[in-house]
Assembly symmetry: C2
Homo-oligomer: 244 residues x 2
């Protein structure tokens, strides 16, 4: 069998962000890929390479923003859309349509929560620094940790329960389990106190998170330099004053 | 050919909201459907029927929230996921995978903008009334109308341009064109002044919006009682103080 054509992933080089959901799926798939903006310009990489797509200087469907994935001539943006494209090609989602539709539904719900996490530190505008919207961030976050985290966590726990308690969808690990791992890891980083308060609700989801972290390719990835540490430029940020 | 099994759409009965994107696709498809929460209890309708799904008392994948669609035993939530399921069944998206992936990418970008529109009047918490977050709403909206509306509109105009200027994807009308119609109609309702300011940027998108409104099934739907008027309980709300 010939080696698979390499994918090109385009995402901001210094953060996990939304790109991390794609990285985890590519890593678990063992798929060859370039994390283009992290390559040197001499290797055809760097942020200008990414910007060319946003500026319309490349072919394919125009992305509104990163992450986007290039597979041959196809350019695919929107995180959940990329995962939905990749997963069936690498056995990371069940084949049946009902399961694929259900998996995508869960991924889109994770994406909704990720957007809400972003807005805890940017409730007014992405064009402003966090420092310029701190009072609003504090107010938004107080509702987020009290109301939204428990609601979403309760939801994913119910989904897990209805599917037998071990996987979110189907009878083996799927890309949605990888995404749930990333979501919980990010919430742990950003809001450790809130996550501690709901520890009792988190039992089965914690087991799932640990099982994903222990998968051999994921464990190798997390220990590698390819895994960018969480930081305060990303979506999941730890600001002590917001860790309510 | 036997009549198609009816779909059941579940959405809040008093607003267009996210459900409207699904209604438009079902109407353009000429597909038989029940808008369940708007039916009388004696017809098996009403909001309690919807709540049973959210409370986990029904089978299928658990929805985090409405809209969700029932097709036989399959329960599908997340607006863009529902549209992606419906469109190929009713000829409302090209058959080629690249086009379907591109259409979904555009729909998810529309969904992102819809979420931002929601947060103009609810920048702090969905659990609070607009009246309890008015200063923050004003601040968020000032950035939204100046920065975000032009950025998204510019994006969709570029996508339209790259595809020949008449349709967002493919060589005939698709569900994404319907969604763009709804998006522009909602922005017109909520932010008429901002939309007037960018009128020059809107030329081709306005033509597309008008062509969708003139499609026979859409025109009939918009003139019917099935089309709920925009109002201040929905996502697109006209608050004069936010129409900057």
């Amino acid at each position: 069998m010939p080696a698979r054509r390499r994918y090109q992933l385009y995402y901001w080089p210094g953060i996990q962000g939304r790109g991390e959901f794609v990285r985890l799926t590519l890593e678990e798939a063992g798929a060859p890929y370039d994390d283009v903006a992290r390559l040197r310009p001499s290797e055809g990489g760097g942020v200008p390479t990414l910007m060319k797509f946003l500026d319309g200087e490349e072919g394919g469907m125009l992305p509104f923003g990163p992450p986007f994935l290039k597979d041959g001539r196809l350019v695919i943006a929107q995180t959940a859309n990329i995962l939905q494209y990749l997963a069936p090609r690498h056995g990371l989602v069940p084949a049946a349509e009902a399961a694929r539709v259900g998996a995508h539904q869960l991924q889109l719900t994770i994406a909704d929560l990720v957007a809400e996490v972003h807005d805890t530190h940017h409730p007014i505008a992405v064009s402003l620094y966090y420092e310029d919207q701190k009072p609003e961030a504090l107010r938004r976050t107080s509702h987020f940790v009290k109301e939204r985290i428990p609601k979403f966590i309760g939801y994913f726990d119910s989904v897990l329960d209805r599917n037998g308690g071990k996987y979110l969808i189907g009878r083996k690990s799927s890309y949605v389990d990888l995404s749930l791992f990333q979501l919980l890891s990010g919430l742990d980083y950003a809001f450790p106190k809130a996550m501690k308060r709901i520890a009792r609700k988190l039992g089965r989801l914690r087991d799932l998170q640990a099982r994903v972290a222990a998968r051999s390719r994921i464990a190798a990835y997390l220990a590698s330099e390819r895994r960018i540490p969480f930081n305060e430029d990303g979506i999941f940020r730890h600001y002590p004053e917001l860790d309510l």
